[in-house]
């Protein structure tokens, strides 16, 4: 267990919101982090870090402060730091979130905040998991536009309504928060998982696409959409607000009615 004490006017982070930033007050926060490094020990263990920090900062800011000022071996992925690149999905207080989109004040900072890697994928080190099976499932649903016939010289036409039909599922950033929150996926890594289905949905319901039938056949597999038990974990987990469960249900319905 380690403690980091920060200077009062440290401004590495956003330091708060609105007009009150100058008067930002610091609180003491404990992050309870699931550590694992097979180079050091065969089993994972919990480690507590206590630090002084502005509660309006992000969990990612807290992780950075630990890494930069206390323990350089703490390992996690991150890049854009504002919820668009999808690198830093992790399990925070038992729920999948992006560390860069989660403010400390919103997750009961008076109690220890638990931070673990997302579940269902092999942990490589600390909060870093093997993303390969996740991306393989994505690649398996043919996540690209398929068209037949001659290409038009200009753009393909699409009405605003047809474009709206699949708008929600175009927001996916492939962070794996949904897939790794799914109890079916935890128990059986063969299941395509919500993210792959979301990305299939994005093309099945695109009026320009002509491979919907093929994608539906792929998802009709025993590891396909029928494994979904509609627990809605995925919808709760999605940092982009995609109605993931609804998208999965729409794919199921399309499989029954063959209309999409």
């Amino acid at each position: 267990m380690s403690t980091a004490t920060l200077e009062k006017n440290d401004s590495a982070g956003p330091a708060g919101s609105g007009e009150n930033a100058a008067a930002a007050h610091l609180i003491t926060v404990t992050l309870r982090i699931r550590r694992f490094n097979p180079e050091v020990a065969a089993e994972p263990q919990w480690q507590d870090f206590t630090l002084e920090i502005d509660p309006k900062e992000r969990v990612l800011d807290a992780l950075h402060k630990i890494k930069w000022e206390v323990d350089g071996t703490l390992t996690f992925r991150r890049s854009c730091a504002h919820g668009i690149c999808g690198s830093d999905a992790m399990r925070i207080n038992g729920r999948n979130r992006l560390a860069c989109k989660t403010l400390l004040k919103d997750i009961s900072p008076e109690k220890p905040i638990t931070v673990e890697p997302i579940k269902g994928l092999t942990v490589l080190k600390d909060l870093v998991v093997d993303m390969e099976p996740f991306f393989q499932a994505y690649r398996d649903v043919m996540p690209f536009l398929v068209t037949k016939g001659n290409e038009p010289t200009r753009e393909r036409y699409q009405s605003a309504e047809d474009r709206e039909r699949f708008d929600d599922t175009t927001k996916c950033i492939l962070c794996a928060a949904c897939t790794s929150s799914c109890p079916v996926f935890w128990n059986d890594g063969q299941y395509f998982g919500p993210a792959a289905i979301v990305n299939a949905h994005r093309f099945i319901f695109d009026s320009r696409d002509e491979a919907g039938e093929q994608r539906l056949e792929i998802l009709n597999d025993r590891d396909g959409v029928w494994r979904c038990r509609t627990t809605f974990n995925c919808t709760d987990a999605c940092p982009r607000g995609i109605e993931v469960t609804k998208a999965i249900q729409e794919v199921k319905r399309a499989l029954i009615t063959r209309r999409f």
Binding site: S17, K56, G72, C80, H82, R139, L145, F166
Partner: protein
Amino acid sequence: MSNVNNVKIHKYDTVIVGAGGAGMRAAIEATKRSRTAVLTKLYPTRSHTGAAQGGMAAALANVEEDNWEWHTFDTIKGGDYLVDQDAAEILAKEAIDSVLDLEKMGLPFNRTPNGTIDQRRFGGHSRNHGEAPVRRSCYAADRTGHMILQTLYQNCVKEGVEFFNEFYVLDLLLNEVDGIKKTAGVVAYELATGDVHVFQAKAVVFASGGNGKFFKVTSNAHTLTGDGQAAAFRRGLPLEDMEFFQFHPTGIWKMGILLTEGARGEGGILRNKDGERFMEKYAPVMKDLASRDVVSRAIYTEIREGRGCGPEGDHVYLDLTHLPPEQLDAKLPDITEFARTYLGIEPYTDPVPIQPTAHYAMGGIPTNVRGQVLADNETPVPGLYAAGEVACVSVHGANRLGTNSLLDINVFGRRAGIAAAEYADTAEYVELPEEPAKFVLDEIENLRDATGNERVFEIRKALQECMDKNVMVFRTEQTLKEAVEEIGALRKRFRDISVQDKGKRFNTDLLEALELGNLLDLAEVTAVSALARKESRGGHYREDFPNRDDVNFMRHTMAYREVGDDGTESIRLDYKPVVQTRYQPMERKY
């Protein structure tokens, strides 16, 4: 793949470094024509292209009259005439097919009522040479970059592009053949294992992105550390126009997170503490949609003259409250969400505090219009290509227009990918230098074994504060000299750093140290280049030389790293003429 002294050796026709928009656009072309590998520090979909919001410019004329010549002119004027006009013409002309190509690849653009690609206004894009704003930006809500990145990745999956994810390229291998330095390959560090890999290649394309992380308030990702620029510079290749860095007017106050110019394109207004729409004073025609350097300077002028908002008077407001909530939901969903998440502000009813944020490097590795990297003012390095923010063609000159970067990566990413693969098709492999991985192995071993007292984050923080203080929107000889001196001192301190993580597996502690080394090198080039440019042009504004000086400075800066016989390093500056075709420099008014 072979294995020599624990260094793995791979052989490909074409190697692409980076998997953002430019890298993947190049990969789609190169993979069809040659055996291609893409090496990327991040998973491809994590690249910062995905953070671009507003759109991609192309004179489709879908919603009003427009043509590529107007677009060319706007690009040249926006770049304060430092743009190479032949390149700008290609950019604007090929923009149209670039957008149509993306649409055919599946990109879900917003649509007009008759089903064509919708377009909206953006800063600096005008009808008939500056008469009035024009709708030229093709967009997908306020996540156009995200949709471009996803679409290109989808098409890479479709084409079976071979990726090496989380491979960090640390060195460029050049070898002399008949007195000419030619491309032999690159050396990469595999993050997951700590292994070092040599990729022998006939052609290499650098598409590794920008270097904005040497500023503190920036829209750039943590990973934008100029790795490609620094690798080329270390190997004696020049860097062009590094003093030109763009400060985007609307970053979230203190955090720097980007709020798209599309917000102003949709009708958003900048206001000072008195509620005044101050851009009317600075740009009577284009107002809030003047080009970015103009708006950023206006914001800081308001702040300096005491009309900034908040108790510290250190920001201004982006006001969207007069726009219908449905319009914000449909056209600007992500940025309104950012305001809610990070500021706790409801943009329907409250103005959003903003300040300029370090956004985009206009400078970079010099290339010609085929994407070939230049060893001097005109000689290409055989087999070496660059595209996107890492490169300087130069289509952006002294200031890039909004929506021209998503365009740049597509037009010049495609060109570089084709040119590299075509070159690889006929060229022979260049023999690898002796002990090709030596530089990288030494670098990593030294860092891992180092026991100095300096810490990476402290030096990086000092660098970022120094750059924000001295090399931002307003510069003077004094601030730039201070910067050069301080960066020099920081580079010395950097020699005494140590990392805590001594392991091989996913050593991001070590990675951050390597990245900081690159940032320090590039910050120095930026400050030295800026000090020598005694004029104001585009993004480079010198308070001690407030006017543009076409007599002495209508030329590109070319910075070279020199190493003396005693091992001392210095930066040598040279200059390259600007290509002017049909547009004569004029005073720049918006």
